[in-house]
Symmetry: C2
């Protein structure tokens, strides 16, 4: 399952660095780059999204379906336009994925009460159950990662993640996430 397979990693990677250097100071500005954090983020995020992928494959769904399912389940009655804004994809990209989810009776479309142009999106009972299942998988991984850390670490991580987001997007994302925790500085 966790096919790591770095094999001859160490032996192969000649750590001497054969790269040509024009002057001897060329290295000075790279010494403090946060390579470890960058790479850990890459690997951690890949594992994090990998759990749901295995379940989704049984439905012939991919990551795109997960994202749509997640945000519809979390925002019942969301407009197509707003979903596009959150996911930052085009109508066409969403269209195909959404159609498959509707066909599979995972997501349901209802006409807007006040505005009949709208097709408000809801998860069906099945869809909600699937969304919860996938979230629980991610919960397990998060809890396993947090359990070893000192108290309050989850707060630090929330603030870190929030501050990784561009300041002008934070307010919107906070509204969306509507955390039960205090993220205000």
């Amino acid at each position: 399952m966790t096919d790591v397979n770095f094999k001859s990693m160490i032996s192969s990677a000649a750590q001497d660095g054969n790269r040509l250097m024009k002057d001897s100071t060329a290295q000075s500005d790279e010494i403090d780059l946060p390579y470890d954090l960058i790479e850990l983020l890459f690997f951690a995020y890949r594992e994090f999204t990998g759990d749901p992928d295995d379940v989704l494959a049984e439905y012939d769904f991919g990551r795109a379906h997960h994202r749509v399912l997640h945000f519809v389940d979390r925002n019942p009655g969301i407009m197509v336009t707003d979903l596009l804004g959150i996911l930052r994809i085009t109508k066409q990209s969403l269209g195909r994925v959404l159609k498959q989810l509707v066909d599979a009776e995972i997501i349901e479309q209802r006409e807007g009460h006040h505005d009949r142009r709208q097709r408000l999106l809801y998860t069906t009972e099945r869809g909600h159950a699937l969304a919860v299942d996938l979230t629980k998988l991610q919960q397990k991984r998060l809890e396993r990662a947090l359990i070893e850390l000192p108290d309050g670490s989850d707060e630090i991580i929330r603030k870190f993640l929030l501050q990784m987001i561009d300041p002008d997007a934070r307010a919107d994302i906070l509204k969306l996430v509507r955390s039960a925790y205090d993220l205000s500085d």
Copy 2:
């Protein structure tokens, strides 16, 4: 640049939740799900990878090119096989991207000293400069996120990310990341 555009988010998302509930306890198991962390991870990671994407677009490169460039730059002399293992993609997927990077004189292939079957990978001077540029973009975002947090937060985040990775993959990834910090528990 940061085209957020959640617009009528709140007004559209009727927070009442019209989903049908068979029994009144159906909600009880979902109450503690870490939706906030899950969504913050999604948005933070998207912003994190978004910075380099803008620069790479000027070269007609995508995220796949970035990943290859990054790990080659960090592991000069790496074998194709090992790179495949890290990225978890197929030879064919790597092939196209790698060819473009070699054609653009970003990456260089050299025959192995001891094993002439190998095509060891190195960044060129240009390639290394690009890799450093992209890393500095990510550094800026990371520093901006960390600066507001209490001392030692970076340690917590490193441990968190490491523990998000499956236990049996951690050793290999640690070797690869070869952090200057103490991640051992």
